[in-house]
Amino acid sequence: MKKVIPNFQLYLMLVPVLLFFGVFHYWPMYGVQIAFKRFSAMKGILGSEWVGFEHFERFFHSFYFMRLLLNTIGISLYELAVAFPVPIILALMIHEVGGKRFKKAVQTVTYAPHFLSVVVMVGMLATFLSPTTGVVNHLLSFMGFERISFMTEPGWFKTLFVGSHVWQNAGWSSIIYIAALTAIDPQMHEAAAIDGASRLQRIWHINLPGISSTIVILLILNIGSIMNVGFEKIFLMQNDLNIASSDVFATYVYRSGILGAQYSFAAAVGLFNSIVNLILLVAVNLTARRVSGNSLW
């Protein structure tokens, strides 16, 4: 065999790998067809009858559709507006620090929360913000404010979601920008300084343009996943009282599909979500290529 097929052993290694992608990635893609069928476990995927866009129509006309759409897009845009720029600013600031030890300390500490699990993150939110025993409400009442039941208040949900995301991930996300900043030629700064440019001017005119291609690429990726708001954290933060502002496509798919066993309907909702996402990604990528010359492909 070895003589007949060159690289025989390399292909042998790839067999389990391709099997993995076949079973856990391509087979589910094939299974997406149940979104257009009335799936019954007895008849299987192939045997179940076609119903066209019935599930989609039912979904678009349901009471939930607008709420899910507004929440999903609302949370994503909020996150994009706040959580996207913070790591950039943080990286620009860390880059300006002269003292090596202070720099190292800031980096080590701000990266650390990234390693906390979602369960712990939401658990911390719940205990810190508890209206009766949480430290935040103790401080509020100490300063003479009303206690707030943050976790069950629909109006607070999105802010808590985005705020805790920034706390947990801003440091970690800044790594990539810090890496891009170190690649900028220091001679540019020297030349600009001789010409009398101030620190802020140099950051604005040298550092920021220097990392602009990194920013654009990450922006495309972020916008391209607008419909994929973090399911795990939303799911954990969700409760009956805040659901009006926390229900998104992903949690709805989980509820109707896994808990409610409406496989076809839930698959249709999921498919709608991914298609919108894909269209967004392609559109943003195209725009970015036209405007800035940077793109994913």
């Binding site: 589910p28 990266y111 650390a112 390693f115 798919v253």
Partner: protein, 293 residues
């Protein structure tokens, strides 16, 4: 060097002050959790513990370590994390190595097939149905197989392999070494840094994950630690840890809050303590991925 003007000095001071504030904001919740976990529960609930522990006690830890569910979850997570990470490493290497060899026919096509899965996927329900129909639902396999390879990590590892000098491969071939042997005794010994990074990324992922357990497992005895923690931390279900007979409802509520803090410390400390030692590798991992990705 650039000469510092007065404005530069103002800038530096401001920058340091703001970064110090950020440092405090990030650090404070972590320190508070630690302090609250070893303080008298009553003082924590009344809001008298703000930074340093008061009236220290290890009661909450005693309860956490005695609890059967938490221990069971811990053992399950150890199992999923160890076997899962081993499978991850083996599978990612078996994908990354062949695809890093320039003379492999069809490597572009195979790479495309793999990359496609980053942008297209069947979604939650069809994936769930596949796991169900191959019969691994509610088994240990459901925790380790569906995520056996992360495409992102595969690309990172492939990039690392590509940077190993060609001459070493050629020398091995001249010596009559087979491809599997070359991988095992030439390439892998040179790849310890990337293997460390991968072990960390995959290991932390398994340690922190609760989602697969949530959808694929129905037996509580198979739940990973994070899923057990969800019930305690977020849904406040911890009757098991209470001495229902000889504790009043108030005492139970008091203890309940302390148990939450202790549990957060116990489950997060292993990762957070390891991380500064291994920070260099983590950051390297992100960089390699960023350059290529």
């Amino acid at each position: 060097m650039i000469h510092k003007t007065r404005n530069d000095k103002i800038f530096d001071t401001l920058n340091t002050v703001i970064l110090s504030l950020i440092l405090i904001v990030v650090l404070y919740p972590l320190v508070f959790v630690l302090s609250a976990s070893i303080s008298n529960p009553l003082l924590v609930i009344r809001g008298e513990v703000l930074l340093f522990p008061k009236d220290m006690t290890l009661q909450a830890y005693a309860r956490v370590f005695r609890d059967g569910e938490v221990l069971g979850g811990f053992m399950n997570t150890l199992l999923y994390a160890s076997t899962g990470t081993l499978i991850n490493l083996a599978m990612t290497t078996m994908g990354a190595y062949p695809l890093s060899r320039p003379n492999l026919q069809g490597r572009k096509v195979i790479m495309l097939v793999i990359l496609m899965t980053m942008f297209f996927n069947g979604g939650l329900i069809p994936t769930y149905m596949v796991v169900k129909s191959i019969g691994i639902i509610n088994t240990y396999w459901a925790m380790v197989l569906p995520g056996a390879i992360s495409v992102f990590h595969l690309i990172v590892m492939r990039t690392f392999f590509e940077n190993i000098p060609q001459e070493l491969h050629e020398a091995a071939v001249i010596d009559g070494s087979s491809q599997i042997r070359t991988l095992w005794s030439v390439v892998l010994p040179l790849s310890l840094p990337i293997m460390a990074v991968m072990t960390l990324f995959y290991g932390v992922f398994h340690w922190n994950s609760f989602f697969n357990g949530l959808i694929y497992l129905s037996d509580q005895s198979k739940y990973p630690l994070q899923l057990i923690m969800r019930d305690i931390l977020i849904n406040s279900q911890m009757q098991d840890m209470m001495n229902l007979a000889d504790e009043s409802a108030v005492q139970q509520q008091l203890m309940g809050e302390s148990i939450k803090y202790a549990l957060i410390v116990v489950t997060s400390l292993p990762v957070l303590a390891l991380y500064p030692l291994l920070q260099r590798y983590f950051v390297q991992g992100v960089m390699i991925g960023a350059i290529k990705g």
